[in-house]
Symmetry: C3
Subunit: 481 residues, 3 copies
């Protein structure tokens, strides 16, 4: 393949986004628009990859400094001017140049490959990517032989020209020589001195260069994003693409329109993804998994036959072995869970290495933060962590250990040990009736009098408001809020 | 502007709703349909605002007694009869009358303003709002000069008339004088003695009044709701309007079709709203907020750069300062959170005044209800509330206080103090092995024998079922449920 | 009605599903596709109900052994061969035979009833169900009198034939005699020796049988599922049907496209179902319920005026009396809740019998699993269960009992008693300041010195890391993570 350089035009102001952020950094399916374009460009292994930036140059440049070289277009004087600035910064360029746009994130690598092949096969000097997209203003007018004659802006077009559906996407694959000659020839269009890259096509036609066009099959690839509405539209298109690919690979989606899966996510076949699920980053799910409604899974690796949710949240960095079960309102973060381990109900496992066949009961927490720093804990195979228990990290729970419900564990627990850290239960008979100023429904046991009196003192101090105010008494029927 | 009165027809039976509730009280985007219509009417500052009610008169009247005057249409004898009843109750009416409908919630104030201007400019006696909406039965038939000739019901129309797309929405702006004369002239259409307001238009045309029409640009504004399906359709239209307005103002929606935001909500630019989010009432969100998937935010005020969710629930009455972070499965209610405060995991903050830079750990709860009454608590700046801690209101946690995990706090905690309310941890070696009838994986420490024996007694009482039944022993492999 | 047998063709390979599972076991709205077809067939009370299975025969047969008889089509030689195999297994068949497909789950019972009536009325030997569905390849070509002449596959059709919208769904109601004669007459179409059931129609026409067609009104009923995309499409259609029926019955859906309700669910009128809600199995909801966003309700019975959610999860087997309130992040499983009982915040009630007007506070848990077995608990009327309390099953909480916050309850609690199981609170003054190496913001109380020193020892052991490492000290400003 002949040498190709890529110039990405990304200097547009993006004022219609109404954003403090550079337009090309707005995200589509979890990835900045410019990142999509760079990924596509990189599939060509280009000799140079230059991004023309304007407003917000710093923000963009800082983020992608190691991915591309940046050229500043200080004045916003149109696409032709941007290309001229880029070429001035790349004086030695030869071979072909591909012009892409930072706000056109949906163009597929396959389309660009087809462009390369088409340019080569047809020995074109300039290959223009066209689309059947009547909302694009650049109309492709052809001569009697069907060759491109000129590009007319819809505002200057005749009704007959307006009826032509084929439009100019602005994506060009062009020899560096022609491009350089073309941008030098550009003349301003208006008082603002704007130069349009489109005019390079006119120049090429007029000067006898071989200009060819290639129609993109799916016009959605050329959707440009100038507003939040268009950003949402682009997200919808990309989401559908991702989900359709996964369906073709054998994943079931109850409602393909109601899942939000980043492009780099991989899911094994026969997994079922319910509605309202978000899976981000480079998450990997095995086969036969069932992700129930409302789960959010970020950058985690999940084995086969794992059940998650509904409404579970995996923050980044988890590794779940096969047959793990994570239930409702459970949060995992940066933790490993061994095969068959269950965290089936409300709870949080943060920064922990959990073995196999562990039962993590409802309300149990791995307390990974003490207000000063974060630490990790280890929980061995077959351990049982009781309800509302706290494992205060760093702590080591050995295999087959049993943590009693309601215990706050700060020291390690050996194998087979029961760890318990809670007070004994005391029942204070008649307390509620006395509090409510009525006869108790059941008399205190005769021998319980002393204990009850004693405990009442203890409890009063505990239960009574710290302010010393008395509670309003009222009869019991219903304890309505 | 000349004086305008508004009559809202809201007496329809609504039987197709199959509801115990008055039809006009069913909600579209969190607001009753009649409320939408009243809000629109109120933008005119009308001299009188009368609502004609029938069935469920009491329920409707009670709710809006301070917003409008109510006229009872005891018998359901059609729109013409309803207008006649209204005029009889408003004998002194002069100027213009605007006729609206309680089940047409999408009509925009802008459209009514345009109607007022059009009536004035064209010196009309009656201005009829028309729409391109072929499902509406009232067909506008015009004469050769294009002037309205008559309105034909689709059931009585010729095929040629049926092909006319312009229909009568039933919304009129009409001089009180003409309206009064018109409704008096109405004759019953059928055995039920129903009178139709449409016939006032015929009367006006026949008697040489100046009748003009104005086409509404967006026919969806005139969607009438008679069924739950139409209610859902109206909700969809209004939802899209709200979200599109917010997108135009600089808010990003990952999926604009999957968010549910009430009309009065305000959101600052560069905020990102993920799918499945519900924001209700008069909530205000600042700039740069990130509301993650599945959050519900009711009537709360939220500063800039606040992160919420996924799956957090803000019940009404919260105020969050900037840079607050509320994480998954957290509930807030009627609480203030100072700048930078975090409640990042499962927990509930109810009726609390929380300072800045507080860390509210997983499972921690402000216990605002003791079964009898609700009270408030205060938590000072930089306080740290440990996991699964209970702060029993009313209680005051001073700045820089530290609440140990698993503690139930009933008394105030001074600045810089550690508060702890939990028992020490004891490990009972070999307990699990004994329970499971096998040799312990690790021998008890020699010196631990006595302690272990003693604790075993304690623990047995705690762990054993209160019923005294023995637990089934079984070998340990996996503790499967 | 004359005797009818049903043959369901379900032997297709389903390779495009890319699944380990039999295609007809993939689910549409919570129910396997074959189950939908069997349910429809069963409405006819057929004399025989035979399912032709191929690949995955065992899996399918095991699941529906009591619902149908199974015929193995060992080789995949087409629909005609499958019917031939079925008839060979049912030698005594008389009357009519209905041919259905295991991958066509949307066909309505009403349509089949209409087919039966049409066949009878028109004295047909074979009634073919047709549809306006241009994607189906079998084109119905009619003669000048409009009678079916032949069925042309689209690949063999002329352009004029291709324009015919009426297609063969493959659903036939045919006399057993004709069917038997027809399938015996079939000749292979290709080298693989495949036989097509369509050719029976040709046979019938050629031999003077009376062949009639009936057009299905809603072509979606005939959607066949061969891919995950088609599975999703079928789910969408059925979902819409279910929700539209419920809307017609008086249920409000904020967004009918964003709820997932199984076909057997029943919901009373004036209930409101918010977006993202999943209701499965045979759940029953009363009137006036409000199911807020993001709830999942599985196989549960719910009374009138119950409020659930947002984001609550009812696992199977719950019974909720009227006016129950279940709030955010609450899980219920196999439990009964009496009238007016509230579990309004994070918590889990598993395997419990809860009385009326109970208050189940935030973080409270019925601990139904001890690592070895599951047990039930009882909670009496008007009981109050405090925050983060654990009720360790089996335990009985009597009416009007009060469980203090943070208590782990292992023994029964009598009526009117307060049960408390937690340690007293101790404040260690200046602990945070000392920990952070700075002067305490407030001096310890003079008389608190001894206590503080003593407690510091206790607490140090509790709070300090078990590894003995010292914590990094750092100044306090903000305790950032």
């Amino acid at each position: 393949m002949s040498e190709i350089a890529v110039i990405v035009l990304a200097a547009g102001q993006g004022t219609r986004m109404k954003s403090r952020r550079a337009k090309v950094l707005h995200e589509v399916c979890g990835v900045a628009m410019l990142e999509h374009v760079l990924q596509t460009a990189e599939t060509l292994s280009p000799s140079r990859l230059a991004v023309v930036v304007g407003r917000d140059a710093d923000e963009v440049q800082k983020r992608y400094a190691d991915r591309a070289e940046f050229v500043l277009q200080a004045e916003q004087r149109g696409t032709g001017h941007a290309a001229r600035v880029a070429l001035a910064a790349l004086p030695e360029l030869s071979g072909d140049v591909l012009i892409l746009y930072g706000d056109t994130p949906l163009l597929r690598p396959e389309t660009i490959e087809r462009m390369c092949a088409a340019k080569r096969e047809r020995a074109a000097d300039l290959l223009l990517l066209s689309a059947h997209a009547p909302t694009i203003p650049g109309i492709l007018v052809r001569d009697a032989e069907g060759r491109l004659e000129r590009i007319v802006e819809s505002q200057d077009a005749t009704p007959r020209e307006l009826a032509i559906p084929e439009r100019n996407t602005g994506v060009y694959l062009v020899s560096a020589k022609l491009l350089r000659e073309g941008v030098e020839s550009l003349a301003p269009h208006n008082a603002q001195g704007e130069l349009y890259l489109t005019d390079v096509v006119g120049h090429a036609v007029r000067h006898g260069f071989r200009v060819e066009t290639m129609l993109v099959e799916d016009a959605e690839e050329c959707l440009g994003v100038n507003t939040r509405r268009e950003l949402a539209a682009a997200s919808r298109v990309l989401r559908r693409r991702i989900v359709e690919r996964l369906m073709d690979e054998g994943v079931t989606f109850v409602d393909p329109d109601a899942v939000y899966i980043d492009a780099a996510v991989r899911i094994g076949r026969d997994s079922v993804i319910e509605p309202g699920v978000v899976i981000t980053g480079r998450s990997r799910l095995g086969e036969g998994c069932h992700i129930k409604a409302g789960c959010v899974i970020e950058d985690s690796r999940i084995g086969n036959d794992v059940t998650i949710g509904p409404s579970a949240h995996l923050r980044p960095g988890n590794e779940l072995a096969s047959k793990v079960k994570v239930g409702n309102f459970v949060e995992l973060k940066n933790s490993k869970l061994g095969e068959g381990t269950k965290a089936a109900h409300l709870g949080y496992i943060g920064d922990a290495d959990v073995g196999a066949h562990v039962n993590f009961s409802c309300g149990a927490i791995v307390v990974n933060y003490d207000g000063y720093k974060k630490t990790r804990s280890t929980i061995g195979d077959h351990a049982f962590v009781g309800c509302n228990a706290n494992l205060v990290s760093p702590v080591e729970i050995a295999p087959h250990a049993f943590i009693a419900a309601g215990s706050t564990i700060t020291k390690s627990v050996p194998t087979d040990a029961l760890a318990i850290a809670r007070d004994r239960q005391r029942n204070i008979d008649g307390w509620v009736a006395r509090k409510e100023g009525r006869a108790p429904a059941r008399a205190p046991r005769p021998d319980a009098g002393a204990e009850a009196r004693e405990m009442a003192t203890v409890v009063q101090a505990e239960i009574a408001p710290a302010t010393g105010r008395r509670r309003r008494r009222r009869p019991p029927p219903g304890r309505r809020r």
